[in-house]
Amino acid sequence: MTAYAGDVLTLARKDLRLELRARDTVPAMVLFVVATLVVFHFALPAASGDLAAYGLLWVALIFTSLLGLVRGFAAERDQGLLDALVLAPVDRSTIWLAKALAMLAFLALTQAVALPAFALFFADVSWETVAGVALADIGICTVGTLLAAMAAASRTRELLLPLLFLPLAIPIVVGGVGASIVEEPGRYLGFLAVYDAIFAIISWASFEYVVTE
């Protein structure tokens, strides 16, 4: 295992352990997404059909991920710990990658509840939707973690993060909804994969600048 991978593993394990101890992010995300789906269930007229429901699923997933991202750097922010990580002799992009991996785990856990809940309230969840959600999660974590680090330095971070994240999440919604509703979703899944690749590279390369400036 390379030193880079070892550092990512060390930092990701730390984030998972913190969540396991504090339990203040994943339970909140799960409750939020289930509550949102329940609200949508009663808000959506019975005749509106599955297409509208899939759209609402993606709205619920994006806002739930936002909830997790706001908490992404909470420990570092509240206790001034970003200084300690920046000072450590590791490639600073390992901090981003570890956070993104931890967030990916949180999203996966949340969606393990959200997708069955969606199937219960609205419509079946196809493998295309699951594949779309998996690819969207990668995009959400790569972009979201970078933006969460940027917002963490601001006093108005809770306001700033949605303002930065939601415009960049529009392609994720387009790709995710498309993959969920069309008969041949390959084009939309490919679109999500390209989005993931582009933003992973941008985030990986720019994280050092974000945390040091």
Binding site: D7, Q79, L81, L85, L87, A88, P89
Partner: protein, 178 residues
């Protein structure tokens, strides 16, 4: 911070004093690479891996135990014989019996002791200590006195403090910020 001209040699023990807001913490953050100067020149010929920084905040995860915190930093700083070194530091700073307790349950003085362990863990060549005696009780302060005296000469120190009398005998350089 203006008109500061300072050159430290290896092994120097520099004492930084000055009133609140004079820039003591800023100077340490600049040297640590946590802030960038807006003007002038700053050159630090010490790699990041060889800098030990004790800040106002303990820079410890409250949800992790004392050992887990030090293990995290030990891995990131690639400390050889990590477990032995962690055990030795915890013993030396009187934290061995609380090694499995979460840092969040520690008193401010115990957190400061653990923060000192973190800063010393990788045996840095350059130690930047910001108010190192803060919150330490008499025993803790004496432990730190001993630690500083033992390491003097083998590492370069920059110590910012409101209480210069405590480290005055060790200082080879004195810097008063106005």
């Amino acid at each position: 911070m203006n008109a500061l001209d300072l050159e430290l040699e290896q092994g120097d023990f520099a004492l930084v004093t000055g009133p609140n807001g004079s820039g003591k913490t800023t100077l340490l953050r600049l040297i640590a690479g946590l802030a960038a100067p807006t003007g002038g020149e700053l050159e630090v010929d010490v790699p990041r891996a060889q800098i030990g920084f004790l800040a106002h905040e303990p820079l410890l995860y409250r949800e992790l135990t004392a050992v887990e915190n030090l293990d995290l930093y030990g891995r990131l700083y690639r400390v050889s014989e990590r477990r032995e070194r962690i055990g030795m530091l915890l013993e030396r700073f009187g934290l061995w019996r609380v090694r499995a307790e979460r840092a969040g349950s520690f008193s401010r003085g115990m957190l400061q002791r653990l923060a000192l362990c973190r800063a010393l863990l990788h045996e840095p060549e350059l130690l930047l200590l910001d108010e190192p005696f803060n919150a330490l009780d008499t025993e803790g302060a004496e432990l730190l006195d001993r630690e500083l005296a033992e390491r003097r000469g083998s590492a370069t120190f920059l110590v910012a403090t409101h209480d210069p009398a405590r480290v005055e005998p060790l200082a080879s350089r004195r810097l008063v910020l106005a």
